[in-house]
């Protein structure tokens, strides 16, 4: 692989910062502190520029130039106005105006998510739990699928019982809730293993970067590689 001097410097810095962040595994140290502050500072700056060029510029400046009709202008002016309201926090005497923008944001998002959650996490999940029963049979290898459907139904019911808050988990009811928490823990265990596997693959990718690119860049910089 041919490497330019500037490319080698970039890869060297990326690898060095990776190791600086990894050094936190030993303990907090000045090298980690430097990488941390650099990371926070550059990322905060990056997001500022990103928002200017990808949110403000296309949605306000460009959109204003292309707008036609009352509603097109209205759709630009209202969000900008709410944004200006947020800036009112900088003036203590009228800082209360910023609450309007916050109230709009919180109220709108919560209201909107109710419909989404209701549809996807409640109603469609009811459909998904019931759907195996529509084709249930105990012949030609259907027994396993049938047992699976019944287990899923019982697991859903017991997990729902666990999430009842207005009744103490005691007696028979408590036993069902305990089954519910077992169901949740089995699910979490499976999810844990799956995610850890993905994390290990990320670590492997980073170690490969250090071995195959960073090390090559160092050799290039000290004149031992191409």
């Amino acid at each position: 692989m041919m490497m330019t001097f500037a490319g080698a410097i970039g890869i060297f810095l990326a690898g060095a910062l990776t190791l600086a962040i990894f050094s936190f595994l030993y303990k907090d140290n000045p090298v980690y502190k430097f990488a941390e502050h650099l990371f926070i500072g550059t990322s905060a700056g990056y997001w500022f520029v990103y928002n200017v060029y990808n949110v403000f510029w296309p949605n306000v400046i460009v959109a204003w130039g292309e707008a036609e009709g009352f509603w097109a202008y209205f759709n630009i002016v209202m969000p900008v106005l709410l944004g200006v309201f947020m800036l009112m926090r900088l003036i203590p005497s009228i800082a209360w105006i910023s609450r309007w923008a916050m109230a709009f944001s919180v109220g709108m998002s919560v209201g909107f998510s109710i419909i989404m959650e209701l549809q996807t996490n409640i109603l469609q999940q009811i459909g998904a739990t019931l759907s195996p029963f529509a084709s249930l049979h105990f012949n030609n290898g259907g027994t396993a699928a049938a047992v699976n459907a019944i287990i899923i139904l019982l697991a859903v019911l017991s997990a729902l019982v666990y999430f009842f808050f207005s009744k103490e988990h005691t007696g028979a009811y408590g036993h069902v809730a305990k089954v519910g928490i077992w169901v949740l823990m089995i699910t979490f265990g499976a999810s844990f293993g799956y995610t850890v596997m993905a994390r290990i693959s990320l670590l492997i990718g980073r170690v490969q970067f250090l071995q195959e690119e960073w090390w090559v860049a160092i050799k290039h910089l000290i004149g031992l590689g191409s």
């Binding site: 905060a44 910023s98 998510s113 409640i122 109603l123 459909g127 729902l160 999430f163 808050f165 999810s191």
Partner: protein, 374 residues
């Protein structure tokens, strides 16, 4: 009655009228149902299309005609979008050879891609919403009338006082992490509500509160919430808006910052309540390594295992939303919680009855009612 029979007869004839006679081409344009307007579905079938011919579909709007697609497929489906929802359109399907000579031509009827006021495919969502709303409203009203509702013990929330008390005794700060998402995320809202309750206690105990955030809107909302809590606790003098401070929007930049705070300030109690993604284990492990008492909560199923493994107490899923009622013990919140419990009971009843009906009468389409929404 006679009129009803005529309508039924008419409706029963429609499907047959849409089917082509054998060998006859079909080219239909139909308005996309229940949309916000401006979309038309085109369906075509041209039997025995000669191999050297291709199909071209033209949209005609007023005097303007424009080609929208060209395909060698003898049958297919295409949705023409971004049309004027008040405009009248018709479409022309032409079978042409590579030189552009037209061999045959079919035309649809004129159609308006109208906007629908109501999406009937989501009727069940409205019904469910009305029922849940009615249940919650009923129990809130009951709570306001003085009916007392109990709430079962949630160990993670029982330990909030213990965690804050421990931090106060040790003279160490309390770190509150409200997740990495913005205020438009309902879990962040739940986290901020709990922050208000935690802030009431830190104000009362005169403990040090530190809230690093990753979103500007969360910062503003959290500052307002904490300020109000300090005011209510009669300690406005103890409020300092720098308690809630912005780090960065970047996920891992934020994590490195919070990890640094944990390592340097060594908080005695850490609350992680909100939406978390890949950073959950990094934060929880760092908190664990400094010996802090950790109370976490999220409704992200993929991150809960990490919190359960590395934290002292974890609020699982809906427990996060129940926390504000639990901590505040305000009647209207307890009433809302009772209403939600009743909604869950209703869901269980639907599941049991739905299973029985699906097993006995699969033709009723109970599954489709819930599975095919929107």
């Amino acid at each position: 009655m006679k009129r009803l029979l005529v309508i039924l007869l008419f409706l029963s004839v429609i499907p047959f009228s849409l089917q082509a006679q054998e060998g006859e081409a079909i080219f239909i344009a139909e308005d996309v149902k229940y949309d916000s307007g401006g979309s038309i579905n085109l369906i075509w079938t041209v039997p025995d299309l000669e191999q050297n011919l291709i199909l071209e579909i033209f949209r005609v709007f007023g005097e303007t005609e424009g080609k929208i697609i060209q395909t060698p497929d003898a049958s297919g489906r295409f949705t023409d979008r971004n049309l004027d929802y008040k405009g009248s359109y018709y479409y022309v399907l032409r079978a042409v050879n590579p030189e552009g000579e037209i061999f045959q031509e079919w035309t649809t009827e004129t159609i308006i891609p109208a906007a629908a006021w109501f999406d009937w495919s989501k009727l069940i969502v409205l019904i469910a919403l009305v029922i849940i709303f009615a249940l919650i409203t009923h129990y809130i009203k009951a709570a306001k009338r003085g009916v007392e509702f109990t709430i079962r013990k949630i160990p993670a929330l029982e330990s909030v006082d213990e965690a804050i008390g421990r931090a106060t005794e040790m003279g160490k700060p309390i770190l509150f992490v409200p997740g990495i998402m913005d205020i438009d995320d309902v879990q962040t809202v739940a986290g901020i509500i709990i922050l208000g309750e935690v802030a009431s206690k830190t104000a009362a105990y005169d403990a040090i509160l530190n809230v690093p955030v990753s979103r500007s809107m969360v910062m503003s909302t959290a500052r307002e919430t904490v300020k109000e809590s300090y005011l209510k606790a009669g300690r406005p003098d103890a409020f300092n808006e720098n308690m809630i401070h912005y780090l960065t929007d970047d996920q891992f930049g934020y994590v490195s910052g919070v990890d640094g705070i944990m390592a340097r300030e060594k908080p005695a109690a850490i609350f992680m309540l909100g939406t978390f993604y890949a950073e959950s284990l990094i934060l929880a492990e760092t908190g664990n390594s400094i010996g802090a008492i950790q109370i976490a909560g999220t409704a992200m199923p993929s991150q809960l295992p990490f919190f359960i493994a590395a934290c002292d107490y974890t609020l699982i899923g809906e427990e996060l939303y129940a926390a504000s009622a639990y901590l505040s013990h305000q009647p209207h919140m307890l009433g809302a919680l009772k209403g939600q419990d009743m909604a869950k009971l209703l869901i269980m009843v639907i599941l049991i009855i739905g299973t029985i009906l699906t097993l006995l009468f699969p033709e009723l389409g109970i599954v489709e009612l819930f599975a095919n929404i929107g």
